[in-house]
């Protein structure tokens, strides 16, 4: 297989928790704690997990808005883990981010023309027939009226604002786009339109996406592969179909159970695995398997021994001692982890 466009190894980000006037460090928010994955050229990787699981932080680490605490980020064969902001500048053209909140991602004092034209000015990119023409082409590309060039963000609806944001990310013709919950702030009726737009743009402009979402329904039809994140770690990563048809990690099962299904026979099952409570604090994450405080299958070993992220026969990467839907062993039977590994 060809070299991946983006490769992330053991990425960690610990935000220091400080106290007092002297800013003494008393702990750390382990927002991202050892995350590894690859993104292949032209694919869409979904990154899913409840709010607070570290998805945004992961996106900001990759785009180098944050300095990683540890690990390695390789983009197009270049190690950008600790590249200085100045050296990062030219690389930024190839990697852009779509932000979650269309009300906060557009400067209220700037016109649409200024906002969408900013990439050209900041990167000093010459456009063939002027920035204005380039901006208008971009507005048209994302389905906005190019005549709205002189309008201000507050004159647009949420969905239109998100389109403006998308136009801005497209200006420099990036290769990789990290979309951080691009539709979660939008009305449900508009979400599909924006997702469709992203999908259409991908085909047209040869884009690679990492699409972040807090539930499994949004990324369902645009992802090629899906990574499920819990408390700073990836707990399951699989091809889209495999993940949705036979989710293996209990957390993935719980997330899927939260997606409305019309089938009444499955309801009882869903009640059993419904997620209750909040994500525990990433300052003091539960030891060993971080999901054990909310997992209905948790055994003693889950509290003492961390399950590694391993490839199972089904092709899933799963971090669980007792995965569901495992073809090579009955789900939920407490086998010793050593035996488990032997069977895979």
């Amino acid at each position: 297989m060809t070299e991946p466009l983006l490769s992330v190894r053991d990425l960690t980000k610990h935000f220091p928790v400080t106290k007092g006037l002297l800013r003494r460090q008393v702990g750390a928010v382990k927002a991202v704690d050892g995350v590894s994955f690859e993104v292949r050229k032209g694919e869409t990787l979904g990154l899913v997990g409840e709010s607070g699981c570290g998805k945004t932080t992961t996106g900001r680490l990759i785009t180098r808005l944050l300095e990683p605490t540890g690990g390695r980020i390789v983009f197009e064969g270049v190690d950008i883990t600790h590249v200085k902001q100045g050296r990062m500048r030219p690389l930024r053209r190839d990697m852009q981010m779509i932000f979650q909140d269309p009300y906060s991602s557009l400067n209220p004092r700037h016109t649409v023309g200024t906002i969408v034209g900013a990439p050209f000015r900041i990167q000093n990119v010459k456009t063939e027939s002027g920035i204005k023409k380039a901006v208008q082409d971009l507005l048209e590309l994302v389905g906005l009226n190019p005549e709205h060039y002189n309008r201000y963000p507050h004159e647009f609806s949420g969905g239109q604002r998100q389109r403006i944001g998308i136009a801005r990310t497209l200006a420099l013709k990036p290769k990789l786009i990290i979309a951080d919950e691009p539709v979660s702030a939008l009305d449900v009726s508009i979400q599909a339109q924006v997702v469709n737009l992203l999908e259409d743009l991908q085909g047209e402009l040869d884009l690679t996406y990492v699409v972040i979402a807090h539930d499994l329904s949004v990324v369902r039809h645009i992802s090629d592969r899906v990574a499920v994140m819990y408390l700073g770690k990836i707990v399951e990563l699989a091809e889209r179909k495999a993940l949705y048809d036979s989710p293996m990690h209990p957390y993935t099962n719980a997330l899927l159970a939260a997606v409305p299904v019309p089938d009444p026979r499955k309801r009882a099952d869903r009640d059993r695995i419904r997620l209750t409570g909040d994500v525990p604090s990433p300052i003091n994450p539960p030891p060993a398997c971080r999901f054990h405080t909310r997992c209905w299958k948790a055994q003693d070993i889950c509290k003492t021994q961390e399950p590694p992220l391993e490839a199972l026969a089904s092709g899933h990467l799963v971090a669980c001692h007792f995965p569901e839907n495992a073809p090579d062993k009955p789900a939920g039977v407490g086998a010793h982890p050593a035996e488990e590994r032997a069977t895979t």
Partner: protein, 336 residues
């Protein structure tokens, strides 16, 4: 993948907007937040009244004396020329009834030396506004710089600047001003007399009131830098300078405008207090505070001499405050 755009969706979404804005060529031109605020301000009768008074005051102050013409010369006497003939040598009060108020002297005469109060009020307005504006300008410049640096960069820069602000705010400014002006030589920095005094007063007021602006600016910057448009600029490769000047500062114009409008009356009062205490502008140059000092001794025989500068200060301070409050309401995003 031949049709890249979700055309039906776009049209459906764009339509309500188009209807709201009205159709036609003009609808394409956007209305900035500033224009919206202006529309809102125009509906606020009280603020507009304040604004009208402020504009009149500024015009009067600018035109009162040379170099711009001289309203004083047009309407009355030289503010600094005594008119002993009009004064009762026994009581020191003006001979004519009502404090000498007449067509010739619309606000009457000053006790003791009979100078025209109208001329002196205009001349004092010039001093008051000049000192207040320059001092405010100085504190806005320092305050914005310090506030943006502290809020944007955080860390030890923020710690130092914040402690500095606490120190400056705890400073006994009035006592300090009295001491400095009292101990000042007659000539310094190429200035002398009232020029020097005004320069020093402007410096003291401006240099010690920047923390009021810096606090506001720091708080706003702290919240602005968390907004995603700052991250968007950074992920495009923008430098800190670009982000501060192009992304953050345009959003600070409104709060700075509001708080400097509210700082001006405070500075007017401070200048009046200094002049009242005899360490402000020196005689014979008129100032509202100085007039009040002199009025204290004659409040029974010539009460108008106390009431008129008092009213001038009151109306001016009031007008700026009303305008400032109106601006704040008009620019407040929560009212949108």
């Amino acid at each position: 993948m031949t049709a890249p755009l979700d055309v039906t969706g776009t049209a459906a979404e764009a339509q309500p907007e188009a209807v709201l804005q009205g159709v036609g060529a003009k609808a394409i031109q956007g209305r900035s937040l500033g224009q919206i605020a202006w529309t809102r301000l125009k509906r606020d009768k009280v603020a507009i009244a304040g604004a009208v008074i402020v504009v009149l005051l500024v015009l009067v102050a600018a035109l009162a004396e040379r170099p711009f013409g001289g309203l004083i010369a047009l309407f009355g006497d030289d503010p600094n020329v005594p008119n002993q003939d009009a004064i009762d040598p026994l009581t020191s009060a003006p001979l004519a009834p009502w404090g000498g108020i007449s067509l010739e002297h619309p606000l009457g005469l000053e006790p003791v030396n009979g100078r025209d109060i109208f001329a002196r009020i205009l001349s004092g307005a010039q001093i008051s506004l000049l000192v207040a504006f320059l001092a405010t300008l100085l504190s806005v410049i320092i305050g914005t710089l310090m506030g943006v640096l502290a809020g944007y960069f955080g860390g030890w820069i923020d710690t130092i600047i914040s402690r500095l602000m606490d120190m400056f705010l705890a400073f006994p400014l009035l006592l300090f001003a009295i001491a400095i002006v009292g101990a000042m030589p007659d000539r310094a920095f190429g200035l002398s007399g009232n020029g020097l005094r005004i320069g020093v007063i402007v410096f003291i007021i401006g240099f010690f009131s920047w923390p009021y602006i810096a606090r506001i600016v720091r708080g706003q910057t702290l919240s602005l830098k968390e907004r995603e448009f700052v991250d968007a600029a950074r992920s495009l490769g923008a430098t800190n300078g670009h982000i501060i000047f192009k992304e953050v500062l345009p959003n600070l114009v409104a709060p700075i405008l509001v708080y400097s409008t509210l700082l001006i009356p405070t500075n007017i009062l401070f200048e009046a207090a200094l002049s009242f205490l005899g360490v402000g502008v020196a005689e014979p140059q008129a100032s509202w505070g100085g007039m009040l000092t002199r009025a204290v001794d004659y409040y029974q025989s010539a009460p108008h001499f106390m009431i008129i500068p008092g009213l001038a200060i009151f109306i001016t301070v009031m007008a700026f405050n009303l305008l400032g409050d109106g601006l704040r309401d008009a620019l407040d995003p929560r009212n949108r």
